[in-house]
Symmetry: C2
Subunit: 254 residues, 2 copies
């Protein structure tokens, strides 16, 4: 195994509707999986209000701490969409009507539909690169290590699918899930020993209820496939020893 | 309208499984709604890894900045459940086997079932108050202004339902949702004017697709019922003027 630097990211979710509970965020799980698949690991996420000070503070803290920052939300046409202006302030640059973005919107909308509100979506921090929006034209953008994306999941997902191909990641985190109909407590001690014996992996334990029965999913994660296989085998062996049948699952990266 | 201080909260979601995308968080929306109903407003949320430094940093920052902090996750019996120990460190106190919590577990489990792993759930920072768990006995706890709760949504919800009654909140944020089959861009300018004319309210705009038609939900929020009613009427009037039929919705707090 070659040691390789971990490429890290933070996700900053912007929107009062998430903090009020009106809307459940669906973008963090999507971003986390898509980024991990190319070797970029989400280390932290923050949810902040549609508030300039809060956005600037979160973005500036995170862009200093991680390789990439992905923001979601607040880049639409209405008065509560203040993300682009806040990002410009965070970087100390002007926000300008971008000719490339204007051109994209002009080609997407009929002339009569191209209102000033829509053109607001072409106002982007000076020096930013555009991020392609294959769904509804209005682009996202990247400035420094900050990627600014919309909050609507269908549009965000299409944009993420496009941009991840260009990211230089480290080794993706691989995972193996082993479930069993047993409680966490019954296996906690033996599981802790397996974790100690396999330090190149990280083993998480997640209780569940399925068809009225209590169970536990044990998720082994590692960037090293051999270490992963060895730890997964040890987890299965530990369950056998405890008199519990392991249910091997080939899940997606977890 | 009596001016009243806003009572604020942050939510700290602890768990690698949320940051990896394996699990979608369901606890923030539940906490946000339950807290708002008693006049406590969630201003920020953070998702951090099962990592002591990350937990301590998030909790210490948030407990200094907000009236309350609610953490979710990491208080179970397995080796990756490190929240209680991290909270003790954040407060600079010892973690001790709590006799009240031990008693709760002893009464819940048969003697043969009361393993050391289960008793780990009675290890709590010195000086903390217990938070009742009506589902599975193992308590949460409160220390200072930090409430430490489990990650399993069914258990968290029961515990939140119990604890909110004891919180002293400010005025709850009331809301009214007015939807219409129109795009955000078509009404963005007029909506911005309504927002300017109703500064005691906060108006959010959220696009949706329903039965294949594009629409926009306009959510008016305020702690002042009269201001809310006036702004909601103005939003409906603005839509009428734009030739769009407003669909009034009496939704839950949003």
């Amino acid at each position: 195994m070659c040691a390789q630097r971990t490429v890290t990211a933070a996700v900053v979710i912007i929107g009062n509707e998430i903090l009020s509970g009106r809307t459940s965020d669906a973008n963090l799980p999507y971003l986390a999986k898509a980024l991990n698949a190319v070797g970029v690991r989400v280390m932290e996420a923050r949810v902040v209000a549609d508030d300039e000070v809060a956005i600037i503070s979160a973005v500036n803290t995170c862009r200093a701490a991680y390789d990439h920052v992905f923001t979601t939300g607040g880049i639409g046409p209405t008065h509560d969409d203040i993300t682009s202006a806040a990002i410009a302030r965070a970087f100390g640059v002007a926000i300008v009507r971008d000719p490339r973005a204007t051109d994209l919107l002009t080609r997407h909308y009929a002339a009569a539909e191209l209102s000033e509100a829509r053109l607001k979506m072409a106002d982007i921090p000076e020096g930013a690169a555009l991020v392609d929006n294959p769904v509804s034209a209005a682009p996202g953008f990247r400035i420094g290590n900050v990627w600014v994306l919309p909050g609507v999941p269908r549009i965000l997902q299409a944009m993420v699918d496009g941009l991840v191909a260009g990211l230089k990641g480290g080794d993706p985190v691989l995972s193996r899930t082993i479930s069993a109909f047993t409680t966490e407590s019954s296996i906690a001690f033996a599981l802790g020993e397996v974790q100690q014996q396999h330090p190149a992996t990280e083993i998480g334990s997640y209780p569940f209820v399925r068809s009225g029965r209590f169970g536990t999913s044990l998720v082994v994660r590692s960037t090293d496939r051999d270490a992963l296989d060895a730890a997964a085998a040890a987890v299965a062996g530990m369950l056998h020893s405890a008199g519990v049948e392991p249910l091997m699952e080939d899940g997606p990266a977890a």
